[in-house]
Amino acid sequence: MKAVAKYRLPSGGHIDRSQLLQFSWGGRTLHGFHGDTLASALLAHGIHFVGRSFKYHRPRGIYTAGVEEPNALVTVGRNGRMTPNLRATEVLLTEGLNAVPQNAWPSLDFDLLSVNNFLSPFLPAGFYYKTFMSPAAWWHKRYEPMIRRSAGLGCASGQADPDSYERRYAYAEVLVVGGGAAGLAAAHAAGQSGKRVVLVEQDWLLGGSLLARTGETIDGEPARAWLAKMQRELAAMDNVQVLPNTTCFAAYEHGMWGLLERLRHHGTEQDKPNAPRQRMWWLRAPRSVIATGAIERPMVFANNDLPGVTLASSAATYANRFAVKPGDRTIVFTNNNSGYVSALSLIEAGVEVKAIVDTRPAPSGAMAQRLLECGVTIFPGHGISRARGWHDLHHLRIAPIDEEGVAQRGGVLMSCDSLAVSGGWSPVIHLPSHQGAKVQWNEEQACFIVAEAPAGMAIVGGAAASFALAQAVQEGATAGASAVGATAPAYGAIHGAEGALDCDSIAWIKGKRGKAFVDLQNDSTAKDLALAIREGYESIEHVKRYTTTGMATDQGKLANVNAIRIVSKIRGLPMNEVGVTTFRAPYTPTTLAAFAGRELDDFLQPERITPLHDWSVTLGAAFEPVGQWMRAWYYPKAGEDMHRAVQRESAAVRESVGFMDASTLGKIEVRGKDAAEFLNRVYTNGMLKMPAGACRYGLMLNEEGTLFDDGVISRLADDRFFISTTTGGAPRVLAWLELWLQTEWTDLEVWLTSITEQWAALALNGPKARKVLQPLTDIDLGHEAFPYMRFREGQVCGAKARILRVSFTGELGYEIHMAPEAAVSVAEDLMETGAEYKITPYGTESMHLLRAEKGFIIAGQDNEGTTTPDDLGLSGLCSTKKDYVGRRGAERAGMRREDRKQLVGLLPENETLVLPEGVPLGAGELTPPFPILGHVTSSYMSPTLKRGFAMGLLRRGHKRHGETISALVKGAAVPCKIVPPMFLDPDGERLRGEDA
């Protein structure tokens, strides 16, 4: 049996003393109880000092008992489950938990970088901006890595997370955020209606502040009994879902909420296969009750960051909820009534409170009286001018202050090991702020509150600065009921915390020495704020960014209001005129993996396969992703690498015959009496006079006149076309066409239907293509009967087919469209009839090579965002007799300049060389810096030309044929001859092929 930890109170608390848990802290083995947080278990052992600060590496202790914790950031877990930057105040203690401190090297007690603390006169706000200015090139290589090493948070494990995460969409009529007294009352009232209600609480226990106090009663019964009753009744309502361990981290538009549910705590393993560790809920709830409570503020004074200093309410929480004493001798420093509440609560729990230091000159009332009766010394009109200690708190200088908060001579030095501070309370209004709610300063309660709640949202309890328990419960019940159109239930007598804080405006004790921290996590001080204002950063947004106040992972939950207070004092402006900075989602740091959910690895995005996919797999094809499609890239034979496979496939098409799976080409059916007129407007070439049975290659431009997509248009009938698009461009093109139809040309009678997958397609190419296909079809493939750029309907192997005589290789080509269920069978029949010609299946890489030999572009590869048809040498496809989308854009003077980047062919002087795609082109030796005149867009080794060749975009390219240009390859200039982008069969004689 382990001895009870020194600072554990003998009784009380919401902990299970029957469950003793062993855990490790920085290599030390310690014990705690079930129900402890890591922080409370450490405090039970008297361990306050748990980390080093961000910039100065000062010793830091556990400061709070909740999500607002700025100091106690720890790394928890082992291997792939190691998670950095967790707040020890939120980590539920579990058996075997492994936690280590962060940002200290070589150890927490002896940290080399704590030298920063002594160098601090040279590290003012903006130090990095001012110092690491030049040379600019040093920033990435030297300054940034150095700063990152010294000013760091925890490190990621570097290993894959073995856990899974889940996303879930959900709906409710009412969302209640916060499971404290107000939230419980709201959920209970709303739940009575039978409508769907979701209650979320970030803690694993419901109850909020009720857990941290004693002696409160609701409806005539002890708060603890009322809490149990509410939980029981909510659990019995099928329409109410209570989600503990769940943070509402964001409020989005239209009643959308982001919730993160932590299903398993650190140190516990999954119980079901594939069960998630965390679940991200995307909840739609049109109405909400925000019962998020309030966060206590620190006081700002010299060395207010010493381990042993905590928020007063947090000290009370540790005593009452976790049965842990914050120290042996506690002093409370406050500027408002709640410090007295906490002091009394500590005393009731058995903690010795020596004194209360109150900035207000004349504190009075029942609480002060009771404290005096308990033997507590009260210092009215005093402040703490300086805390003293090193790794822990030793004593305090308590000094009288003037009305500006400036410490005066005199006062006393008082020893203590624990200081509980209260600088007032800040309602948690992050979620309304995410929705753009305006906030205003409430002088009475000394806090910012929401001026007008966003539609559908009610803000109650501490979040609305209603700090009295009775008021919070009643507001919650009323809001919950009104969210479902009911009347609020009446509550009986409620006795609990009083609401009025009577908060002093002094939260900053100005002394002569020592750092007075405003933002503990980012190490920014009151002096930094003053400096920022002196240097002209007056707007609070500028002060924030210059000093980084409020920019840490806690988003200034403790710091912001004190910072605004100080700016207000220095500038002599009212709080409302200083204004606030913007809260943004997420409310607390949120696991990135939970956003991804199961959309990882194989399930990152849908993978689309063609009817011929498995057939290609059996042939050993390698695949490449094109958009969401998996396309056969090349079909290597035994022992072949990609290069040799592509050379073999390409040669086979030139010399005999080959075919590829073209099923992924986008296909859109265009129908209606205005179909021809519509296509005539979106393609650059004329479509009106195209006869049925004809095909045409067409270009689509955007409004700027640059190339958008290309494809083949086939006319089935007067009022019926089908058009093809690039594989990746299909959804974009359909959306673009719909946009024109639905917004600009609503008078045109046209319907568009995507039919991409209604037809599987094979592209059969090569001089023997006719010989191979003719035996399988009833269509006469003769050159005259079925000319180039025509299509025919008929049958292939008994399957209904549309055959297009088109070619993307420069060879005789047929594109065979047929029912997907026939595709594999037809492919196998082609292999059979083509066997005597050594028919060769080829992939996308050979297709790319073959088309490049003919100078055919690939939209998206050989053009860029500014390329016009003219730049590509395709002005012949642009009608001068009609208007079309992009015509006026393309006709602007700048779009027709001669020095634009234009498509050219490139032949490296070294014939064996294949230029890397993307390399820059320039003149001469290319000694940097040199003007980049263009770049290589496509480049291959041609099995037919027996040499490397390329295409590229080059300034004035059209006029430079015959000249030499240099390509930059691995730092060297490679001379290339500029030629027209057509390397083979310029007269198109090969398109005829051999007769059947």
Binding site: E166, R167, R168, Y169, A170, Y171, R196, K272, P273, N274, A275, W282, R284, G597, R598, E599, D602, F603, Q605, P606, E607, R608, I609, T610, P611, D614, W629, E669, R671, G672, K673, E749, W751, T753, S754, I755, T756, E757, Q758, W759, P775, L776, T777, D778, Q795, C797, G798, A799, K800, A819, P820, E821, A822, A823, V824, S825, V826, D829
Partner: protein, 214 residues
């Protein structure tokens, strides 16, 4: 001339196996199904509805006329769906093995023609057979909503029988139809290329609840 052998899009889908205890989620491929897209104004859609013997349902609702479901997925668009004839109360789940020349499209084109023939002269409407393009998967089980909620943003609890709506299922554009089938009430219609990936995803997602794919 040769005659082809028909292949189904689900040829390689692992069938009828239970993953993870009891089957909280079930998926059954319904092949081959007829799917025809019809487009037109309200008045034109009414003519199409009449052609298949139903009255035009409101947007995101459906009507059933014999074996033909009329799924009104938009103000100007609907899908006509005929699930495969079920002889034993179970879908066949396999292809007929007989080549029709156009796959299921033979029936689809007949329905397409039937619809267009029903149009009044000059009406601006269109019926397009998509039977080869779309596949139909029936979904259900005690944990249906739990599983679907992980990749589909619909409020399933509020969608009564008859609902037909275009949505996104696991990033895939799809149409969901809440049919009268009490066993596997939900029908998911998506492009055939997605089917295998979708069923793999379903198998993984539903694993903690037990899953059967037929």
């Amino acid at each position: 001339m040769k005659t082809y052998q028909a292949a189904t899009p689900f040829a390689d889908t692992a069938h009828s196996h239970l993953v993870g205890g009891q089957a909280g989620f079930r998926a059954q491929t319904l092949w081959p199904a007829v799917v025809v897209s019809v487009r037109g104004s309200e008045a034109v859609l009414e003519q199409f509805a009449e052609a298949v013997g139903v009255s035009l349902p409101p947007v995101t609702e459906s009507a059933q006329g014999g074996n033909t479901g009329f799924l009104r997925i938009g103000p100007d668009s609907a899908l006509l769906v005929q699930a495969p004839i079920q002889d034993t109360g179970q879908a066949t789940g396999q292809d007929t093995g007989q080549a029709t020349g156009q796959g299921i499209g033979a029936t689809g084109e007949a329905l397409e023609a039937q619809c267009e023939a029903a149009l009044s002269a000059g009406a601006h409407g269109q019926a397009t057979d998509l039977s080869n393009e779309r596949v139909l998967v029936a979904l259900g089980g005690a944990e249906f909503t739990t599983v679907m909620a992980q990749f589909c943003p619909l409020d399933f609890d509020s969608l009564p029988v008859g609902t037909a709506t275009g949505t996104v299922v696991a990033q895939i554009p799809a149409v969901l139809h809440h049919s009268e089938d009490s066993d596997l009430p939900w029908r998911c219609i998506m492009r055939r290329s997605y089917a295998r990936w979708f069923l793999n995803l379903v198998r993984e997602t539903a694993r903690p609840y037990g899953v059967v794919i037929d």
